[in-house]
Amino acid sequence: MRVPVDWLREYVEVPTDARGADIAESLVRVGLEEEGLHGGDVTGPLVVGKVLTMEPEQQKNGKTINWCTVDVGDANGTGEPQGIVCGAHNFAPGDLVVVVLPGGVLPGGFEISARKTYGHVSAGMICAADELGFPDDGSGGIIRLAERLGRDDLTPGEDAIPLLGLDRETVEINVTPDRGYCFSIRGVAREYSASTGATFTDPAIALGDKAPRANDAGFEVRIEDAAPLRGQVGCSRYVARIVRGIDPTAPTPAWLAVRLTEAGMRSISLPVDVTNYVMLALGQPLHAFDLATLDGPIVVRRATEGEKLTTLDDVERTLFAEDLLITDQQRILAIAGVMGGENSEVSDATRDVLIESAHFDPVSVARTARRHKLPSEASRRFERGVDPLLAPAAAQLAVDLLVEYGGGTVDEGVTDVGTAYEPVSIALNPKDIGRIVGVEYADDRVREILTQIGCEVSPEFTVTPPSWRPDLTTWPDLAEEVARIDGYDKIPSIVPTPPGGRGLTTSQAARRLVGESLAAQGLFETWADPFIGDDAFEALGFASDDPRRQTVRIANPLSDEKPWFRTTVLPGLLEALRRNVARGSKDVAIFEQGLVVGGPAGTAKTYPVGTYPGPEAVAAIEQAVPAQPRMLGWALTGHADRAGWWGGGRAADWSDAIAVARAAAEALAVELVVTAGDRAPFHPGRCAQLALPDGTVIGHAGELHPKVIGRLGLPARTVAGELDLDALIAAAGSPQARILSNFPVVQSDIALIVPSQTPSADVERVLRSAAGDNLEAIQLFDVYDGDQVGEGRKSLAYRMTFRADRTLKTEEVNGFRDAAVAAAEQEFGATLRA
C-alpha cells in the first residue's frame, strides 16, 4: 500500500515537519512494516534556468556537446550566467529548463559538483526527466518547463522542487492479512493517530451522514445466493447510486490523478478514476456500470458451472459454480468483488453511471480470485474484509466527485439491500491482557486504547470492535491491540525457567557422532533437495520392481521431470559429486544424512481449526504419513589418500566405501556384518551388503556399476554406499568392559589356500571361532592369487594374536592355531600354504 503523505495529512494531523521517514517509523511501531519511501529524495539547489547561449562543440570521440550559459537568477549567489556542459540537444536558447547547481542531490543520492569536462568547467547540470526520477516523456531528455507545466510565468532562479512535485513523498507499507482496513488512506491515518496521538478525522462519518437513506426509487437489486460458502451469504450488502449526464470528455482533475499515480494506479477516465480514488481513500472497492447497458434489475447470484464472461482484461473466463456474479436480466455483468465484464464497462460514450458499493464475503472473493488467478485491487480488499458499514459513505463520495468534476446530476433513487451488520462482542477480563503480554496495564489504559482503535467498551468490559475490524474476535486479539498501541518496546525481557530437559535424544546425539566421525575421515557433508525423477531410477539401474521406486509423487512439482520424493539419498549425492568434479575438484568424498520415503502413504483427514479431533483421529493422521527413515549416504572419487610431496596417492576404491560404513558403525559400537551383496547401483562383484548382527540388512556399499558411472557421467571407479541410519542407531550397543590382560601376546601367522570365491570374512569367522577365547585379534594381512597357489585359488594370510590372563606356552598357542586351521580345512577345504 502506497500512502501519499499529503493525502494522509487530509485525514490526520501529521506534524508539518514530519518527513516520510518519520511517518514510516510511527507506522512500523504499530505493525505496518515499511516497504519503501518514494519521492522527497531530491535536495536543492534545483532551480528554474533560462538558456542564454548554446554552442555545439564537436568532440574527438565523435560526440557533440553543448557549451551553454544559463541564467539562474541569484540562485548561484553571483547572479552571473552559469556555464554548463550538456550532451542533450532537445532544447534551444530561450528555453526554461531545470538546473541542478553544485551541492544539489538527485535521486539515488547522486550529488552534483562543479567538474572539468570537455575542456570546460561545468557548474551544474541541465536535468533530463529520468535524472529527476520521472519517466521519460518522449521529448528526448531535457525537461522544458514551459511545455511541461503549461506556464510561462516562471522566473530564473525559482525553486523547481515544488514546481515539479519533487517535495511530495509517498510511504509504502506492507499490510498484514488481518488489517484489511489499512488498504486505505483512512485506515492508515487511523493507525498513525493510534501510534502518535495525532487527531484523526474519519472522512466516512461526514459522508455517511450526508448519504441519503435507501428509497423505492432506487435501481432494483436482488441478492439471490442459493449456495452460501461456509454459511456466509456471498453479498451481505449492495448499495447502488446513479449519476446521470456526465460529460464523457471531462478530464480527471490533476490533484486526483497525481494522488492515483503516487498510490501506484494509472489514471484512465474520470468515472474509473473516481471509483479507484474512493477505494484508496476509504477502502471500499466500487464498480461503475454504464447504466445504458443494463437491462432490468441487478441480481447477485452464484454462477452455473460453465457460464462465460469476458472480463475487463479482455480474457474470456469460464465460470465455476462457486463464483458470485453480478447479473442483469440478459447477461453477466461482473464477477462480484473481483472484476467487471467488458459488456457493461464505462466508455467514452457513457453518460449515465451506476455506482456499485457492496460488501462481498471474503472467502467467496478469495476463492474466486484464486481460481481465476485474478487478484485485483478490489479482491485484495474484499479478501481481507471490507468495513460492512462503509458502503453508503463510499458511494456518496463517488457521487460527489462525479457531480463536481463530471458535471452530472445525482438520481434521487438510492438502493441499499442486504442483511444488517451484527457486531460481535467480546467479554474481556482486562487483567488477562497483562497476563499474556507480561506488562501490567491499568484497566483505564486498556479501555483508553480499545476506545482509541474504535471499540466500544462497556463499564463491565464487554468490548464491541468497530465494523472495520473483523479480525477482532477473541480476547487475545484485543490483547495484541493493547500491547501494540501501548508499544511492544515496553515488554520486558525475562528468560523463563523450564523444568529442565533431558538434553539431546540418543538418536540426535548418535547422528552428530556419526556425522563428525565421517567428517574426521575426510568426508564433507552436503545437502540435496529430495526431488527426483524417473531418470534417476533408470540411471541407477533400479529394476522395475525395485521397492525404491515406490514413493509419493508431488502434485505440483517445481519441475515435471522431478516429481518424486526420494527413496534414496544417492541421486543427490552423485549429482553433487559430479558437480564437484566438473568444477575442478578431483578428490571428492561427500556424505549426506537425510530423510527418504520408506513406506506407503495413506489418506490423512483434516479437521476444523481450533478443535481437537481426539486420540484415534490423531493416530489415524499419523498413520497416513509415510515412514521416513533417515539414510546415511556417501560417495567418493579420486584419491582417498592424496598424492603430494610425500609421495604418490591411493585411489579411493570399494574398500574405502565399506570403511565409511564401518566408521559409522564403530562410532556407535555396532558390529557390522559385511557380506558379498548384489544390488543396484553397485558393481555386482564389488558390492558389500551391510547387516546388523541379527541379520537385518541395513545398506550396501562398494564400487558403482560401470553402466551407472557411464550414465551419470561420473569418474571411473566411483564408489558409494548408503545405509539406514535410524536402524544403525537403534542397534547401537552398550559394550561391557573386560579386564585387560597385561601378560605378553603371542603371535602366530598362517596362510591358507582357499577357493577364490571364498569370502575372507567367512574364513576369518571360522578361524576366530575355532581358535578359542584366547584369540585376542586376527588380521588379514596379505592376499595372494598368483601362479604359486594354482588356478581358481587364493592365499589368505592371517596374523593371529593370542593372550590370556597368564603367560601362554608356545605349544598351547600352536594347539589353538592348529584347531583354527583344521576348522578352515573342514569348512572351506583350505590348505595351509607351505
Binding site: 511492544y488 515488554i491 525481557s493 557433508e525 568444477r583 561427500i590 490423512a604 497416513a624
Partner: protein, 364 residues
C-alpha cells in the same frame, strides 16, 4: 695434525726423565686439543694413552728402577697419565655433544611444506548452525524435536489455525502429495513438529523444532525450495510475551555476541496472537553506522516471526488455553548462517560444493 709421537727416541732419552714426562704430557694434551672429531680423538688416545704410548712405556720402565727411585717415578708417571686421561674424557664429552648437536641440525626439515594425505572433512555449515542453536536451547533447559518432511495437512495447517481458505495452503505456495485430497504435504514450516510435540507430551513443554521445510520457490540467490528452519515452542503456566522476549534475547546474544538484543514489532500470523516480527540488533554496526550494509543502516536485521500461541492451536493440540499459555518463534537457519558468515548466495549452501564447507571449521 697430530698422531704418534715420531720424535721419541728411547735410546737417547730416558723415558722417566721428568722433563721428558712433562714433554710427553704436553704433547698428549696438544694432540687431544687438536683432535677435531671423535675419530681423530680415538687415534690420539691410542698414540698418547695406548699400550705403546710413551707414558705407558715410561710406566713399564718404573719396575727396572732401584726401589728408592720407584716411588717418585711412579707418582710422576701416574699423575701424568691421570692428566692425559682426564683431558681425553673431557674432549670426548665435548666432541660427543658437538656431534649430537650436528645430527639435529642435519635432520632439520622444511616444516612449511603443507601435509595433506587425508584432509579433514566437514559437517555442513547449515548443520553446524542448527546444532549451535539446538545446543543453546538445550542449555536453557529445552529439548529438541523433529518430525517427518512429508507431513499431514492437518498437522501442517489446521492444527496451527490456518483455516481451509488460508492463502498459504494454495498449491502456489505449498507442495502437495498427489492426489492433494489425501491430505499430505511437504511441510512448509517446522510448526507441525510443535503440534506433534504438544499432542505427544502435553504441557509443560519447551521444545525447539529443527528441520528442513519446503516452499514452491524456484532456487535463486535468496530463495530455496527446501530450506532450514528452527522454531521454539514453550507451553506452561504463566508464560508471557516477556518470556518470549527473554528467550529471544538470550538466543540472540549467544548466537551473535554479547549485547545483541531483539526488538518486537506487531505483526500477524495465524498460529500466534498477539504476533510479532522480531528484529535482531545489527551485530556488525550495533546500530551505529548509517552506511552499514548488513542492516542497511537501520541498526536492525529482520530475524523471524513469533508470538503467543493462538488459543485455537492449543485447543487443537488438546491443551487447555484457560490453564496454559504458550509462546512460539521461528527463524531460518540458512539465513542465520548467511548473517554469521556473510555468505550471499543460498545456492552455494545446497549445491554440495565441498569448497563451500571447507571455508569453515567444524563449529560455526
Amino acid at each position: 695434525m697430530s698422531g704418534p709421537n715420531t720424535n721419541y727416541d728411547p735410546v737417547e732419552v730416558s723415558a722417566l726423565d721428568p722433563a721428558q714426562v712433562d714433554a710427553n704430557v704436553q704433547a698428549a694434551l696438544d694432540a687431544i686439543a687438536a683432535a677435531g672429531d671423535l675419530d681423530q680423538l680415538k687415534q690420539v688416545r691410542t698414540a698418547h694413552a695406548g699400550d705403546k704410548s710413551p707414558l705407558a712405556l715410561a710406566n713399564r720402565e718404573i719396575g727396572a728402577l732401584p726401589p728408592t727411585a720407584k716411588a717418585e717415578a711412579g707418582k710422576r708417571v701416574g699423575q701424568a697419565r691421570g692428566r692425559v686421561g682426564q683431558a681425553l674424557k673431557e674432549r670426548q664429552a665435548e666432541l660427543e655433544a658437538e656431534r649430537d648437536e650436528r645430527i639435529l641440525i642435519d635432520e632439520a626439515v622444511d616444516v612449511t611444506m603443507v601435509p595433506g594425505r587425508r584432509p579433514l572433512g566437514r559437517r555442513h555449515p547449515i548443520e553446524q548452525m542448527g546444532r549451535r542453536i539446538a545446543d543453546i536451547m538445550v542449555g536453557m533447559g529445552w529439548e529438541v524435536a523433529e518430525g517427518p518432511e512429508v507431513e499431514a495437512e492437518w498437522f501442517s495447517f489446521d492444527a496451527l489455525n490456518f483455516d481451509e481458505d488460508h492463502p498459504a495452503r494454495q498449491m502456489a505456495d505449498t507442495f502437495y502429495i498427489d492426489p492433494p485430497e489425501h491430505g499430505l504435504v511437504l511441510r512448509p514450516h517446522t510448526s507441525p513438529v510443535q503440534a506433534r510435540a504438544m499432542l505427544e507430551r502435553g504441557a509443560p513443554l519447551y521444545v525447539a523444532c529443527l528441520g528442513r521445510v519446503f516452499r514452491t520457490d524456484e532456487l535463486d540467490a535468496t530463495h530455496m525450495p527446501a530450506f532450514h528452519q528452527v522454531e521454539g515452542l514453550a507451553v506452561d503456566e504463566g508464560l508471557t510475551m516477556a518470556h518470549l522476549k527473554g528467550t529471544l534475547d538470550r538466543l540472540a546474544s549467544e548466537l551473535f555476541g554479547d549485547g545483541i538484543v531483539t526488538r518486537l514489532r506487531p505483526s500477524y500470523f495465524p498460529f500466534t496472537e498477539p504476533s510479532a516480527e522480531m528484529d535482531l540488533r545489527c551485530f556488525v554496526c550495533r546500530g551505529t553506522d548509517p552506511d552499514c550494509r548488513a542492516c542497511s543502516g537501520t541498526g536492525w536485521i529482520e530475524w523471524g516471526g513469533c508470538g503467543m500461541v493462538n488459543h485455537n492451536v492449543l485447543r487443537a493440540c488438546n491443551i487447555d488455553p484457560e490453564r496454559y499459555t504458550g509462546f512460539a518463534f521461528g527463524m531460518g537457519v540458512d539465513r542465520a548462517l548467511m548473517f554469521r558468515t556473510g555468505a550471499s548466495d543460498m545456492r552455494e549452501m545446497i549445491e554440495g560444493d565441498v569448497r563451500f564447507d571447507a571455508q569453515f571449521g567444524m563449529e560455526i
